[in-house]
């Protein structure tokens, strides 16, 4: 386990918070300063996260940039931060998207500007914190902290039905969180029973012994909490409402990062803590993922509202992520992680574009558009590229992820692979149909005739999105090389632990503990 002397992760977590606190003392009339300050701060944060990429040693399995301090030693709570190749990429995605979110809110947010940016910075702290935490209590705190700013973003700065959407979002995630909290405590005491120590340190808990029958319950609680966040079918219905009502930046960050917290939670907690249960759950999760892929696509097709359409497409895309993850092989797992990033970039891009249209027309209804390629040719190009990324055209990022996921799924279970691949066709149907209705044909509505094409700021935002779409599609190695070792180690660990539990079901527990614990260290 490498340890760095410089607490870069803490820095990354608290810089936005510091910014948020500073903003508290700025007078609300100084809107320009507030915006500029937030933009600069988010850029600094992004710049700070880049060295992580370069200093991250891709050859070792363990956690890096580790910070560990005793916190409540009597309860086994530590302030324990660290990242591996998986969280590294997600952190970069978070800091990148936050910059775009600040930029795209420039004109869209007119009321309570100060509070808005405070909330946003606060959210960034919570997100980065969640991705770095290796102590369950710390993780849980950050996890819950993400809820509040997101709730506010929807509830205060959202659309007409924002209150309903915000509460729905809050209730869904809270319900999951409560179950997870209970499971965390159960796990904590279970570990104590087996080893005699109290700890919330995830890496220690990985190597504990939880009877398989107990694992099922604990996994179920964690998995439900994460599945709501992903969201997996059938607990997805909060997402369309939340997306539809949230302001553009809220949708971007919600789709881009918050949903990934669910899938990340599976990777970091639910699977390695309860490997036997996770393996037993493969059929259930895979089938729900497949239903999500197909169902999400078909329901998406019928949506009259652009944001709802994209929200359901997220259900479909996140279905791929879950399908690949539960293939439990290299291709599936790496594809799955890559797809998390892809989805952040391309669905983020789609929401940004819808936001730009909304700012101009104050509607999201597909029927209100039509023929926009004529007044807005530049938007048309960007929209096309992002659409192609979303339908996973080779050469774009989407293809790399989707291909590996489907290959992995196919290797694990041919039927899953075949069913998952139908999503490739359905994806083209709903995206291209939507694109045609919005962009092609004659301009039929008078209001659309004089629409102004993209400005410099908007072009800049979308250029950065397209840059990553192409880079990640053409040269994915840049990203894969950082996660290869981590993912390989992860799969190996989960496999060994599962084998251990399989054996322990037959042999008496204590014997197994003695024999297997050494190699697992």
């Amino acid at each position: 386990m490498g340890s760095s002397c410089f607490p870069i992760l803490s820095l990354l977590i608290y810089v936005p918070l510091l910014g948020a606190v500073t903003l508290l003392f700025v007078r609300r009339e100084h809107e320009a300063y507030i915006k500029g300050f937030t933009l600069v701060l988010s850029l600094i944060e992004f710049a700070l996260s880049i060295p992580l990429y370069f200093y991250f040693n891709e050859k070792t399995v363990g956690m890096q940039f580790v910070e560990r301090r005793a916190w409540f030693p009597e309860w086994g709570i530590t302030y324990f931060l660290g990242i591996d190749g998986i969280s590294l990429l997600l952190i970069l995605l978070t800091t990148f998207l936050t910059v775009l979110c600040v930029l795209c809110s420039w004109r869209a947010i007119e009321k309570r500007v100060k509070e808005y940016y405070i909330t946003f910075l606060f959210l960034e702290t919570a997100m980065v914190g969640t991705l770095c935490s290796l102590d369950l209590v710390l993780f849980y705190i950050f996890w819950e902290l993400m809820l509040i700013p997101m709730y506010l973003l929807i509830g205060v700065w959202g659309g007409p039905k924002r209150v309903y959407a915000a509460i729905k979002f809050f209730l869904f995630t809270m319900a999951g969180s409560v179950l997870m909290l209970l499971a965390i405590f159960a796990l904590y005491f279970q570990f104590y029973k087996a080893t005699g120590t109290y700890t919330f340190d995830v890496l220690q808990l990985y190597n504990g012994h939880i009877p398989v029958s107990t694992q099922y319950w604990l996994f179920a609680a964690f998995a439900l909490s994460f599945a709501i966040k992903v969201p997996m079918f059938p607990v997805h219905t909060w997402l369309p409402d939340a997306h539809t009502e949230a302001p553009t930046a809220g949708s971007v960050i919600l789709a881009g990062v918050l949903l990934k917290m669910g899938t990340y939670g599976f990777l970091r907690f639910a699977i390695p803590l309860f490997p036997a249960a996770a393996h037993a759950a493969i059929p259930i999760i895979s089938i729900l993922a497949l239903v999500g892929i197909i169902y999400g696509a078909i329901v998406s097709m019928m949506q009259p509202d652009l944001k709802r359409l994209i929200a359901f497409s997220s259900v479909s895309h996140l279905g791929y992520v879950m399908l690949g993850m539960f293939a439990f092989n290299m291709q599936g797992m790496e594809g799955s992680i890559y797809q998390m990033l892809n989805h952040g970039v391309s669905t983020g891009g789609l929401f940004l574009i819808v936001g730009m249209l909304y700012e101009r027309r104050h509607t999201r209804m597909i029927a209100d558009f039509g023929g926009l390629a004529t007044p807005m040719p530049i938007l048309a190009i960007f929209f096309m590229i992002v659409t192609l990324s979303s339908v996973a055209l080779p050469g774009t990022n989407g293809f790399v992820g989707e291909f590996l996921i489907l290959l992995g799924a196919f290797r694990a279970n041919m039927l899953y692979g075949i069913l998952g691949t139908t999503g490739v066709v359905l994806g083209a149907v709903y995206m291209f149909w939507m694109f045609q209705r919005v962009m092609f044909g004659e301009v039929k509505k008078e209001e659309n005739r004089k629409l102004v094409d993209l400005g410099k700021r908007e072009v800049l935002i979308l250029c950065s999105v397209v840059f990553f779409i192409v880079l990640m599609g053409v040269y994915p190695k840049m990203f894969f090389k950082k996660m290869d070792t981590s993912v390989e180690g992860f799969l190996k660990f989960v496999k060994e632990r599962n084998a251990y539990y399989m054996a322990s079901e037959v042999m008496p527990v204590k014997v197994v503990l003695e024999t297997v614990k050494k190699p697992a260290e």
Partner: protein, 661 residues
């Protein structure tokens, strides 16, 4: 010399980038020069490599080069790498050569279009993707080109996106192709996993070929079937051909380049490229030939009754692609590729000629409103004649040699292939008929256009007619690279392709051996017997072609009353054929409405009422939502929000302080 093969796709890519970024600001002339020169440069490189090949012994005619590792994950590795061998160089020559001519033609055809730079941007991108498709050294990169050309096809069919019909046609093409790609992708997965079971993890052609013997017969059968599904999409075969006729919504040079000469032949190329797999699966080979021949006769019959000149040509393309599949399906890969090449010449020419006609007729495409154009646009007319003669199979012209080669190979495969041969021969007669019907209807007889249109009829500018003339020349001489031995030729193209297909051909001969009754009968008479059979068949097909032409002459020149009476007499039959057997309507009723019906039920009932209703119901029962709602609704949003933020900050602050201590 291996080092510059990657240049072939690079030039169009550069052209694409220049026009994509600066096209709007550059003068039109620069845009067109950039686009055309890019193609010409690639063409020159291809020709150079061809000549280098001639200086090498056949077995050394393979250049391969990996540029970088593209996707690497666990055992999976796919490179961006190129492979030039006799097969890919022929494809490159066709794509860049014919492509160049069509680019030049487009300079004239698209001259007044407001989307001029956009058009050439797409066109260069298309050629780039097509070259990736044919020069890739592994199946995944081929798939990149495969989907890439699909994208360009989508963009170019829908080039005039303001027209709903164009936008619809583009979308239809993409989605139908995606259905085929579903098969292609599964084929890749199955191939990768099946070879992986034997410890070989690769998608590189050479590696796959070397290890193909590891595959079980059933695996090979399934893999080739899945790939063939992909081919039916891209190459518009039954049952996925429906997108190609609609694709005529695009500008006519696009129809010529993408939907006749190059992209639609990708499926044929793919089967030929993977010949070593197909040869392991005789049932699928038969299926390929069967689907090919059924498509050939099916779409030829639709072509008989169409009045839109581009539609006639579209169905003709579908039909000719069917012939190519018959060729590769009977194991005569070289014959299939030969026909692919000659077809690129004459069908490319036919579309460009049609474009020239449409240009002259102020946009009119309906044959019934044409006629008598022979004198007014003579260059277009004469080049069109050459193409018609070539496609009809008149001896001496390119189509004759390639089509006959396929027919002969199908016949000599014997057994069930005889049925395929018979159907193909009948379809050849229909081809001759509908092509001359088109020729006569458009260029001969009285001009049926309105006075205003008549007034404007003019021959196209040189920039358009010169490509026509060059292609007309190629439609004549293009066949001489494949003159069969029996006519004293050396069948050069077959020899040239020997290193790629050599082993595979023998394989098929073995597989078909048991069924080979008739040719065995000839063989017993010695070599001369087989020769005389080939000669007999050749004469037969010439007779069939001339019968087709003669009937067209009788019906459309001599007695133009007959077709009208025929239509009246058999109005039911005509209606069915004219409406393309209502296949689009049937698909629409089953698949499109089925999907939408399902979508409506899932969205409006299942998602919004069942799932959401259940969950909202639960929430309401808990009463929790109620209390929260009350608080929020009574105007405390601000206070509540503030309290939450402050509270959270206090908590975090406290925790941080604890850490510091």
């Amino acid at each position: 010399m291996v080092d510059y093969i990657w240049l072939i796709p690079v030039f169009p890519a550069v052209g694409f980038l220049i026009n994509a970024f600066f096209g709007k600001k550059l003068p039109k002339a620069v845009v067109s020069w950039v686009a055309c020169l890019a193609l010409f440069a690639s063409f020159v490189v291809s020709v150079t490599i061809l000549f280098q090949f001639f200086q090498l012994p056949p077995e050394e005619r393979v250049f391969e080069r990996n540029i970088f590792n593209w996707i690497t994950s666990g055992e999976f590795n796919a490179t961006v790498g190129f492979r030039i061998d006799p097969l890919s160089i022929i494809m490159c020559l066709v794509v860049t050569g014919v492509g160049f001519l069509i680019h030049v033609y487009s300079v004239g055809y698209m001259h007044n279009d407001e989307g001029y730079p956009r058009y050439f941007t797409y066109l260069n991108l298309f050629v780039f993707m097509m070259l990736i498709l044919v020069t890739a050294n592994n199946i995944l990169l081929m798939f990149v080109g495969w989907e890439g050309v699909g994208l360009c096809s989508y963009l170019l069919i829908g080039f005039w996106f303001r027209k709903d019909s164009a936008a619809n046609a583009g979308k239809k093409a993409f989605i139908v192709n995606r259905i085929g790609d579903f098969g292609f992708l599964l084929g890749i997965f199955l191939l990768f996993v099946s070879l992986g079971d034997h410890g070989v993890w690769t998608l590189n052609y050479g590696e796959v070929q070397k290890n193909a013997h590891l595959l079980s017969a059933s695996a090979a059968t399934l893999i080739t079937l899945l790939f063939f599904i992909g081919a039916t999409g891209k190459s518009a075969q039954l049952p996925l051909y429906i997108w190609l006729p609609d694709a005529m919504e695009g500008p006519t040079p696009v129809s010529s380049l993408i939907h006749a000469a190059t992209m639609v032949t990708a499926g044929v190329y793919m089967v030929a490229r993977l010949n070593f797999l197909y040869s392991m699966a005789p049932q699928i080979m038969f299926l390929v030939a069967l689907v090919g021949v059924l498509t050939a006769i099916f779409s030829a019959s639709i072509g008989l009754a169409q009045n839109d000149i581009k539609r006639v040509l579209a169905y003709s393309t579908v039909s000719q692609l069917g012939y190519m599949f018959v060729g590769v399906g009977v194991g005569a890969y070289a014959a299939g590729i030969f026909h692919l090449m000659t077809h690129a010449f004459f069908k490319g020419l036919l579309f460009l000629g049609a474009g020239s006609v449409i240009h002259a007729m102020s946009g009119e495409q309906d044959m019934r409103k044409m006629g008598g154009l022979r004198k007014k646009i003579p260059i277009t007319y004469w080049t069109f004649v050459f193409a018609c003669v070539a496609i009809a199979g008149v001896p001496g012209f390119s189509g004759f040699f390639s089509k006959d080669e396929i027919l002969w190979k199908a016949f000599s495969a014997g057994g069930p292939y005889l049925i395929i041969w018979a159907i193909a021969a009948i379809a050849a007669g229909m081809t001759a008929f509908y092509m001359f019907r088109l020729l006569f209807g458009t260029f001969h007889g009285e001009c049926r256009a309105s006075e205003e249109v008549k007034h404007h009829i003019h021959e196209s500018p040189k920039v358009m007619t010169i490509p026509l003339m060059i292609l007309a020349g190629l439609s004549v001489v293009g066949g001489y690279v494949g003159v069969p031995h029996i006519l004293g030729g050396a069948n050069r193209i077959e020899q040239f392709l020997e290193p790629v297909f050599g082993g595979a051909g023998e394989h098929t001969a073995l597989a078909g051996g048991g069924l080979n009754i008739i040719s065995q009968a000839f063989a017993s008479e010695g070599a001369g017997g087989a020769g005389s059979a080939e000669m007999t068949l050749m004469i037969l097909s010439v007779v069939i072609a001339f019968i087709g032409i003669y009937i067209a002459y009788r019906l459309y020149i001599k007695n133009p009353e007959i077709p009208k009476r025929f239509v009246e007499r058999f109005s039911g039959l005509h209606r069915v054929v004219y409406n393309k057997y209502f296949v689009d309507e049937i698909y629409g009723a089953i698949f499109v409405r089925g999907l939408f019906g399902l979508g409506t039920v899932l969205k409006s009932f299942f998602d919004e009422i069942v799932i959401d209703g259940t969950i909202n119901g639960v929430a309401a029962l808990l009463g929790w939502a109620g209390s929260l709602l009350r608080r929020v609704q009574s105007g405390y949003v601000q206070g509540y929000a503030f309290a939450m933020i402050v509270g959270a900050i206090i908590v975090i602050g406290y925790l941080v302080v604890r850490v510091m201590m």
